[in-house]
């Protein structure tokens, strides 16, 4: 990290990285088709595209995790073939993974130096490593005690540790794979600053993201991939986020959010009073009306998810819940489901779907009682239900006997939505409805949500994406450190007002 870029002999005329005619096939499926890409030193080059466009495959080839089927890579004009990720690292290309790959029981310094420990004779030199880790993280603008175990850090801090670890080797090109996916706005700011610093040192950065405004801000060049082909490479100054979205999807997506008929003063269907979830949320009270879409904004860790989970009986909670005026108590989530509340977890893969099971089993899992006849699960009716769900929610699956884990993120979310709608709930709580989902599918999910509200169901959307809440919701409640600190509606639904409430800091004050 502290070392300068490796002193490889450079042909000053040749770009740092030059990719020509790169193709990759997995069996009969061609996922990359003739990609040409030039990355210059000291530039941030963004790669954008929908899920399945081939971004990840391209990054895996550039970082030596995969071999191309065709085409070549040149570094400083010299053709190279990576034998593996270690080889790519030796040539100065490092990949910062999207998932956090750290050992939670080891300390920060132990993680930073994992696999390349500094030793004095037979004994590891903890002192030097602690100092080195502290310095590396400082250079990234963070301040983390290197002797703390990683399991006790926040997601953002862990990501910083991971970046510090990646940058410990001499590097000339750093690849970031959706680094801001799970960060709050404040943390994202900090990370973008880190990236700007890396660029300032003459290092090249490849930056993959779904968040187009970020790309617009940070990138010098933008390359758009669609269906494994390179659509275009432009200067970032030339393209606006709307253009990027259009190029990614291949059609106009100006209207991401559906039009909704204004909801009048309708009856209250859900009343939550003085709800506390120990350790996460305190004294939260709110009301939900019929046909309404209510947003919950806040920073990660503000207690939104926990409040919802406490309310539906997934966590221990105290407080009063009234459904259509009648007191209700949910000891476990089964009770709230029976009362007509469906909760879709933010953790689609970990808590929403059985990834190693087929679509049918997932679809009917929460509502299996409806399919039982003579003590048996009626598989014919299950199949019919799946056909119906696939049509209704446009779940794109080649075959109906696929496993849930084989679907794309967007289709998994549609399946999860279909699964919970099998309960025919009157209240639907959706936590992070579009996390990790491409724009085309996002638009569909928003349409479904608006459609459910139009049917007279009441919706709560918990999201960290403010534009999504603003575009979709009738009103938005903002939470900060476990408390509901305000409500915005109508003209007051702006990112600025939400951020002020969510952080408790006036916009100008934020460092």
């Amino acid at each position: 990290m502290n070392s300068a870029p490796s002193p490889a002999p450079t042909d000053s005329a040749a770009p740092l990285l030059n990719v020509a005619g790169l193709s990759k096939s997995f069996g009969p499926v061609q996922v990359l088709k003739g990609i040409d890409l030039v990355v210059e030193a000291g530039q941030v080059h963004a790669i954008i595209g929908e899920n399945g466009a081939g971004k990840s495959t391209l990054m895996k080839i550039l970082s030596g995790h995969l071999q191309p089927t065709d085409g070549g890579i040149r570094i400083d004009g010299q053709p190279v073939v990576f034998s593996g990720p270690v080889d790519a690292e030796h040539r100065g290309i490092v990949l910062v993974h999207q998932e956090i790959l750290l050992a939670p029981d080891l300390t920060v310094a132990q993680n930073v130096y994992l696999g390349r420990e500094i030793a004095k004779g037979l004994v590891v030199d903890d002192k030097t490593m602690n100092e080195g880790a502290r310095k590396a993280i400082r250079e990234l603008g963070g301040d983390i005690d290197p002797t703390v175990t990683v399991g006790r850090l926040s997601i953002a801090q862990r990501q910083l540790v991971q970046i510090a670890r990646s940058l410990l080797v001499p590097h000339r090109l750093v690849i970031f794979d959706e680094p801001t996916a799970s960060l709050t706005p404040v943390e994202t700011e900090a990370l973008l600053k880190v990236i700007a610093d890396i660029r300032a040192k003459g290092t090249a950065v490849l930056y993959i993201s779904h968040r187009l405004p970020e790309v617009k801000r940070i990138a010098d060049k933008v390359t758009v991939l669609r269906d494994g082909r390179l659509v275009t490479t432009r200067d970032a100054s030339e393209v606006e986020p709307v253009d990027m979205a259009r190029l990614m999807v291949g059609r106009d997506v100006a209207k991401l959010y559906p039009d909704r008929a204004a909801t009048g003063a309708r009856e209250v269907v859900l009343e939550v009073e003085d709800m506390s979830v120990p350790g996460y949320a305190e004294h939260a009270s709110f009301q939900l009306r019929k046909g309404e879409i209510l947003g919950f904004a806040g920073l990660v860790g503000a207690g939104r998810t926990e409040l919802m989970e406490g309310m539906v009986g997934l966590r221990t909670a105290r407080g009063t819940v009234r459904l259509a005026g009648k007191p209700a108590s949910f000891v476990n989530v089964h009770d709230s489901m029976k009362a007509g509340i469906a909760y879709l977890s933010e953790d689609r893969k970990g808590k929403g779907l059985l990834l190693t099971k087929d679509l049918k089993l997932n679809l009917t899992l929460a509502s299996l009682g409806r399919f039982v006849r003579w003590w048996q699960v009626d598989r014919t009716r299950e199949r019919e239900a799946l056909d119906k769900a696939i049509a209704e929610f446009d779940i794109r699956t080649g075959r109906k006997d696929l496993l849930a884990g084989q679907l794309s993120g967007g289709n998994q979310q549609k399946l999860l939505l279909a699964k919970m709608m099998m309960l025919d709930p009157s209240i639907v709580i959706i936590d992070e409805p579009t996390r990790g989902i491409d724009i085309g599918t996002k638009e569909q999910i928003y349409k479904f949500i608006a459609g459910l509200a139009a049917e007279g169901r009441s919706i709560i959307v918990v999201s960290s994406e403010m534009p999504e809440l603003i575009g979709l919701c009738d009103r938005i409640l903002v939470m900060r450190t476990g408390h509901i600190v305000g409500e915005v509606a109508g003209d007051h639904m702006t990112e600025n007002e939400i951020v002020v409430l969510a952080t408790g800091v006036q916009a100008g004050e934020a460092a």
Partner: protein, 334 residues
């Protein structure tokens, strides 16, 4: 039109998507039969095979229960000790003369055995779910408890069924035949059929697989995870009780070493049968096949002169490791 499409889809499925892990144990069984026939012509005789199947009954029946426990992501190490404990109490009850009519004695003893088996399983289940103790540790503990109680009941010796009338009336449950097929084989088939129905067809079975596959997803889907888990241990206890009921008439006595290492054999049968040890996949008929394989391997060793039969335990231990390796390599391919 749609029907033909469905038909072709089905045909394609049967060709390409045959799950190798589900088929592997049956292929292994077939290969063993061939090997056995070469090793000793007597092996393949109907009498010998029926004899082998009969002897596999205890492990097969217990392993049906173990399939439930393991599919739900649990483990039960106490089954061997539980056999000794349940069988001992049942014999002591029959000896006590609490019921005078011999037939009624056996019926009452059967009811009692089932109740004790269910209670022992319930204890295992509650310790792991309510007590939140790892199933490995919880059932390691009860394994010691059930075994220790048996030793205490028998005062270190044997507990023997003494009433001759009861003995002669009970004997056919192990030694009897219907249509030339030994009675225990019927018990295996019926137990497995019920197990397969419950695991594959009922809502509860679906819940077992969901809990074993991902506990969080099951919880968020409104499934009572603890109850589902606990019940798998009760099912295991019931299967142990059924195994005891056909075990007692075989020897008519129990001792502190009854059912020793049966937990290892039951788990081996389950794993050899293609059930994933991490949970989420259960194969009842594969388990039965696994139990047969274990018994047949022993039989072949006995009938052939290649390997000393004293190495049986070592061979069975090797089988579980080989089965895991095969399972893993098949996962990679698919």
């Amino acid at each position: 039109m749609t029907e033909t499409a469905a038909a072709t889809a089905k045909a394609r499925r049967s060709w390409k998507d045959v799950d190798l892990r589900a088929v592997a144990p049956f292929v292994a069984l077939a290969l063993l039969l061939v090997l056995g026939a070469f090793a000793n012509p007597n092996f393949i005789s109907v009498d010998n095979l029926l004899n082998v199947l009969t002897r596999s009954a205890f492990i097969a029946i217990i392993a049906v229960g173990a399939t439930f426990v393991i599919s739900a992501g649990g483990l039960d190490l106490s089954v061997g000790s539980m056999v000794a404990f349940v069988a001992s109490l049942t014999i002591l009850f029959m000896n006590s003369g609490a019921v005078t009519d011999p037939m009624m004695t056996i019926v009452a003893a059967a009811v009692l055995a089932i109740a004790i088996g269910a209670a022992c399983g319930l204890a295992n289940g509650l310790i792991t779910t309510v007590g939140r103790i790892e199933p490995f540790i919880a059932t390691l503990g009860t394994m010691g408890i059930y075994r220790g109680l048996t030793t205490w009941l028998s005062q270190g010796g044997a507990i023997t069924l003494r009433n001759p009338e009861v003995q002669s009336l009970y004997r056919p449950v192990y030694f009897g035949e219907i249509l030339g097929v030994p009675f225990p084989i019927y018990v295996i088939v019926i137990t497995a059929a019920i197990g397969a129905f419950v695991l594959y067809r009922t809502r509860y079975g679906r819940h077992v697989v969901a809990v074993g596959s991902n506990e969080d997803v099951a919880h968020y889907s409104g499934i009572p995870v603890s109850r589902v888990r606990t019940l798998t241990y009760v099912i295991q206890g019931l299967c142990v009780a059924v195994a005891c009921l056909i075990y007692i008439p075989r020897l008519g006595s129990t001792s502190a070493t009854t059912g020793l290492m049966w937990e290892l054999q039951a788990i081996t049968a389950v794993v050899v049968g293609g059930t994933a040890l991490r949970g989420g996949v259960g194969r009842i008929w594969g388990t039965i096949c696994g139990a047969f394989i274990l018994e047949i391997v022993g039989n072949i060793m006995l009938l052939s002169n290649f390997v000393s039969e004293y190495l049986l335990g070592a061979i069975q231990g090797a089988i579980i490791i080989i089965a895991m390796l095969v399972q893993r390599s098949l996962v990679r391919k698919s």
